[in-house]
Amino acid sequence: MGLDTALHEIRRLDDLAAQDTALHRLDARAKVLVTLAYLVSMLSLGRYEVSRLLPFAAFPLLLAVQGGVPLGLLLRRAALALPFVVFVGIFNPLIDRNVHLTLGPLVITGGMLSFTSIVLRSLLAVTTGLVLVAVTGFDQVCRALGRLGMPTALLVQLQFLYRYLFVLADEALRMLHARVQRCAKNSRPSLHEYRALLGNLLLRTLDRAGRVHQAMLCRGFDGTMPDLRPTSRFGLAEWRFCAIWGLFLLAVRILNIPQHLGDLPLYLAAKAGGLFPGVLK
């Protein structure tokens, strides 16, 4: 991923996080906690589970729709994260060939199941993480973690990084553009050019750190960053959000809902067959 596309992607999520929906207004701690519970309960399913993973899709889907996050964006991002997972998981179908399910001529081995499971897990985990940022915002996620006990030094570090990421990336982009204009080719720099580029970027970075520090001291920096938003409370809406999703997670983790759903038509068909034994013959 190039630097400019990376910046663009970050800003895209930032814009989404700046929306004002009921979900955005919720205290970030509720969203962070439920997301963590979601990840643990989803990833703790056995490795051959495929159908049981499907109900878990409801959480990112509903949150995305509620928070106005375009599903296309989520799916595209989730696809970008797949290669490493596929690289490691692709061996499952080759190694594990125990037959688990058959349907007529179709034979499904354990490896096929576990591979599908890995891909599904990846899609679900990635979309859930992205939805969390898109409906909360990076700064609020960090503050929520800080209020949940993350050390202040790390909180300040995350906020600083996020603030200067754009500044430095813009600086780097300017240098790259200048290079392209001077050498009239848009190829990757050689190691020699790279050293000069990054070295100068590093020098400018260090100078900037000094200036930033001066400016901070002038403004009375006391070791923490002030919060511009009013501090939100863990109120009724937050408890309701946690309770509803907590019950949902409990239900889909314990019950095999797709199995029950799937049993239903079979059961009905069986009933019908039992009631009218001659009909279907």
Binding site: L3, T35, L36, L43, S44, G46, R47, V50, S51, L54, A57, L61, G68, V85, I95, R97, N98, V99, H100, L101, L103, I108, G111, S114, I118, S122, A125, V126, G129, L130, V133, F138, A153, Q157, L158, F160, L161, L168, P189, S190, L191, Y194, R195, L198, G199, L201, H213, G223, P258, Q259, L261, G262, D263, L266, A270, K271, A272, G278, L280, K281
Partner: protein, 352 residues
């Protein structure tokens, strides 16, 4: 080489999170006592630098591929291990949240793999002794290459250990190690060369940085304890996940490995035997899944069930009823989710 959520079990992910969180808390408290608030903006800005630098590639001559700075080692050199560890953790957090590199549960693993090894092992025990007090160009080169290679080897090995002990991937330990280590040897060499050239450049441009930045007159007593704790957490994590993985599924797999048979008709080994006996017990209640249709009508479902019924002895754990209801159920779940999303979307757009 970011560890991914999808390959991780919660036991392993949780214990790696515990190890990383402990290290983060320790580093934060160390920074607080060192009380040098000049370093606060320096850490933030340097982390942003590493983030940007990771996106700028250079071409490696003669190979057609490209490389970039990883950043762990250079941060450790410029900031000292504790501040560097926090800086790396922050970069990884941004990557996990915005680019889904790894994931939230895997973030603990990634901080450990890419932060702990370069900052707390490679920098103090490899880089520093090799570079010495007043490093020359050659010594800087060797020190950073050796340290970077070592750090990435350890990191890659960490990924392998975490993946294998999670038991989600079937990739056996030996082949995964053989796959990962050589790749990361190459990556480590590139990382080492880049770090070295940057350090040499800085050494020429700002020699004062190398003497001044690290207030490392630290009492060494705590470090071995922390390292010991972290390693213990790893071992416990591995052990826990082993127990977590020794449900029939994991056992079946390892039994299958031991007996070396992956053929379809292998009813004797492991879970097949137990399932076989289970099947025999179930067979006392014939046609458990399709009671009525088997007696009377032949529904579509029962027709598909009939085939594996004949082969039941070869494949004892196969059951068309489960297959069909699983598939149907999955499909219905998808439909339900889709309908719910549609309804919600209509409602939200209706409101807006």
């Amino acid at each position: 080489m970011h560890m991914a959520d999808a390959l991780l079990s919660p036991a392993v992910g949780g214990s790696m999170w515990a190890a990383s969180a402990g290290l983060l808390a320790y580093s934060s408290s160390r920074l607080k006592t060192s009380l040098d608030d000049r370093r606060v903006p320096l850490m933030g800005v340097l982390a942003a630098f590493v983030f940007a630098a990771q996106m700028i590639n250079f071409s490696i001559p003669g190979t057609g591929s490209s490389g970039h700075l990883g950043g762990g080692l250079i941060l450790a050199v410029l900031l000292g291990p504790h501040a560097a560890f926090l800086a790396i953790a922050s970069v990884l957090a941004v990557q996990a949240l915005f680019f889904a590199d790894g994931g939230l549960l895997a973030l603990g693993c990634n901080i450990f793999n890419l932060g702990f090894f370069p900052c707390f092992l490679c920098y103090p025990f490899i880089f520093k002794p090799l570079a010495g007090e007043t490093p020359s160009k050659g010594r800087l080169m060797t020190a950073s290459i050796v340290a970077a290679v070592a750090g990435l080897q350890m990191g890659a090995f960490g990924v392998v250990l975490e993946t294998v002990s999670s038991g989600i991937s079937e990739l056996p330990f030996s082949s995964f190690v053989l796959l990962m280590q050589p790749i990361h040897l190459a990556i480590g060499l590139v990382e080492g060369v880049v770090t070295a050239t940057l350090l040499v450049f800085l050494h020429k441009a700002r020699p004062e940085l190398f003497g001044a930045v690290q207030p490392d007159a630290e009492p060494r007593s705590l470090r071995p304890i922390i390292i010991g704790l972290a390693l213990a957490a790893m071992v416990i994590g591995g052990g826990l996940s082993w127990f977590a993985a020794s449900d029939p599924d994991g056992l079946e797999w390892s039994m299958g490995k031991v007996s070396g048979k992956e053929e379809l008709a292998a009813p004797e080994n492991g879970i097949h035997g137990t399932l076989d006996s289970l099947q025999k017990r179930i067979a006392f209640l014939p046609d458990y899944n399709f009671k009525e249709p088997a007696e009377s009508a032949q529904t579509e479902a029962a027709a598909t069930e009939a085939k594996p019924e004949q082969k039941a002895e070869a494949w004892p754990n196969v059951n068309a009823g489960t297959t069909l209801s699983g598939l149907l159920g999955g499909f219905m779940t998808l439909c339900l989710a889709g309908v719910a999303a549609l309804v919600l979307r209509r409602r939200t757009t209706g409101k807006a």
